[in-house]
Symmetry: C2
Subunit: 333 residues, 2 copies
């Protein structure tokens, strides 16, 4: 973010992180300081038609509570699932919110609150958050990858979020890491998401267990029909379970290869790894780093660094709030 | 490029394409119309110390000849080999020019001509040229890959050339397409450059010929010790030589995979393929397209198109001239 001028510094930002189960809110200073936080349940019943009214009510209620008015805010930023039209401020195909058609958050929220509204997709917003106040050190060149149930991402280059021609820039989950490999929900094969998401880790574990002949607790658990999670695989690997270590090596190989090619193409200062799977921490990072180094050319190996995300759940509201500032910076240029 | 205002429209641009054997020059209108073209030999003797003075003399001589003065130009743009510092306007490590240390084109050319000077590396400049007046249709999101002796590239996202933290953004030649594969001059293995450059095509041909048992003219030529070029391989493939077809399939697989991942990450409107190897034309493009489609997810497959470059040798001077306008646009914003 650019430095803000004095008239802006007194004003505040609202960040909204709209998720399938909860919607998180924050009031932030333009310096990125989170001054208030709250959350509400996301009501996905009745085609999710209460979601936007509930967001409006919650913002109004909290502004009343804090005795604040619309004039005190530079804007509201929101991260949303689905396909986001930045200019129109609309969302299409957010299936986990039960929104079947197009929804108009910008129109509705601006009309109800009188505060300028900005929106982008949730992975891009989390990328902006980590870039601004997290592991990205506010550098203009940061790529973010989130390893959760799926794999998502966002690319900030020269200080701007990249969207591409149809909004798919930064969809790191669909980088092909194994041509002809595991079938993805997107319809093609070999996507990173199938190898480095929480479900991908379990998929690899099941496949490797079938062919594994040795003695390993992970194999025993799988043969015994126990429910396995990505966390269990990493915990067993940290205890030197030989099969779990092989699984982690495979996950790290594919993640390291994909991030190496992010580096080779974009040469960001930092590639920040977040999401549930990244809770495996340095144990995962070290193994990914090794594969990253093997697959990057010298200038990238020396200047692009892998880092673990630091903001956790707060990345969404912080990044959402930063959308407001990005717009201010562009207007001022 | 943005539309130019009236005061700018009367002025001209100079584009300089500095190469290892010739230096090309062009005088262009801000609309991209090439009004004059000429070229000189690049004198790489004596550590290339005459290169910049020769460029200055040639520009001065032609301005005299056309009866034009410095005030009639918005600027000079130049594409250079080596590692370019955009802000300082310096070049380091341009080994094919015999420049061993740091050279100061901006300082020297501005002092001698009185015209503002802009510089970027040759692949980025060619990308800007194809984007502006070539296959890129002046779209804000265009990636360019050039398949020559090596493989280079440039990425334009949201209308701006990406450079990354250390100038390596757009180095598409070092995308890892085959982990552990052919050793590259960069020191790592499996770089696209080793599979899709002119030398890469020949390397693949030699390796496949060794294991090829059937009857094929390409195999006969190689066994006979004849000199093989990438052009010969493609020409034979077009005549249905069975080994040459296998080689082209392999080249197309790796190029299609790499460009698919450019698409998955950046979702440009166009990925433009240029350089000597791209002279194989639609024959190559169709095969690359098939591999591109197999490795892109639906939204990218539907919105990102592969195209052959159209400017040929002129991409350099056109792109170099456009650097001047990019700077004007940023100043005006």
């Amino acid at each position: 973010m650019k430095a803000v001028n004095n008239s802006m510094a007194d004003k505040k930002l609202i960040g909204v992180d709209l998720g399938g189960t909860t919607t998180k809110f924050g009031i932030l200073t333009p310096a990125g300081d989170v001054q208030q936080r709250w959350s509400i349940e996301t009501d996905v019943l009745e085609d999710g038609r209460q979601i936007i009214p509930n967001i409006i009510d919650s913002i109004k209620h909290h502004l009343d509570m804090y005795d604040m008015s619309a004039e005190q805010f530079l804007g509201i930023g929101m991260g949303s699932p689905g396909s986001v039209d930045l200019t129109a401020g609309t969302v299409t195909g957010a299936f986990n919110l039960n929104w079947s058609g197009t929804v108009y958050p910008k129109r509705d929220i601006e009309a109800a609150t009188g505060i300028p509204f900005y929106i982008d997709n949730d992975a891009n917003v989390a990328a902006m958050g980590e870039r601004w106040m997290g592991a990205g050190d506010n550098d203009p060149n940061v790529t973010f990858v989130t390893l959760g149930t799926g794999v998502g991402g966002g690319i900030i280059a020269d200080g701007r979020l990249l969207h591409g021609v149809a909004g798919s820039a930064g969809e790191l989950g669909h980088i092909t890491v194994q041509p002809g490999g595991y079938l993805c929900t997107c319809g093609k094969r070999g996507c990173l998401e199938q190898y480095a998401s929480a479900t991908g880790v379990v998929h690899i574990a099941r496949d490797m267990a079938e062919e594994y002949a040795g003695d390993a607790k992970l194999k025993f658990m799988l043969d015994d029909g126990e429910d396995i999670t990505s966390k269990i695989v990493f915990d067993l690997a940290k205890e030197n379970d030989p099969l779990a270590l092989k699984v982690v090596d495979k996950v790290s190989f594919y993640l390291g290869l994909a991030l190496a090619n992010v580096g080779n193409m974009l040469n960001p200062k930092y590639i920040v790894i977040g999401g549930g799977v990244s809770a495996a921490g340095d144990f995962l990072l070290q193994r990914v780093q090794q594969n990253f180094e093997e697959n990057t050319f010298p200038n990238v190996r020396q200047t692009t660094s892998l880092r673990l995300a630091t903001l956790g759940n707060e990345a969404g509201i912080v990044g959402a709030a930063s959308l407001v500032l990005q717009d201010q910076a562009e207007t001022e240029e």
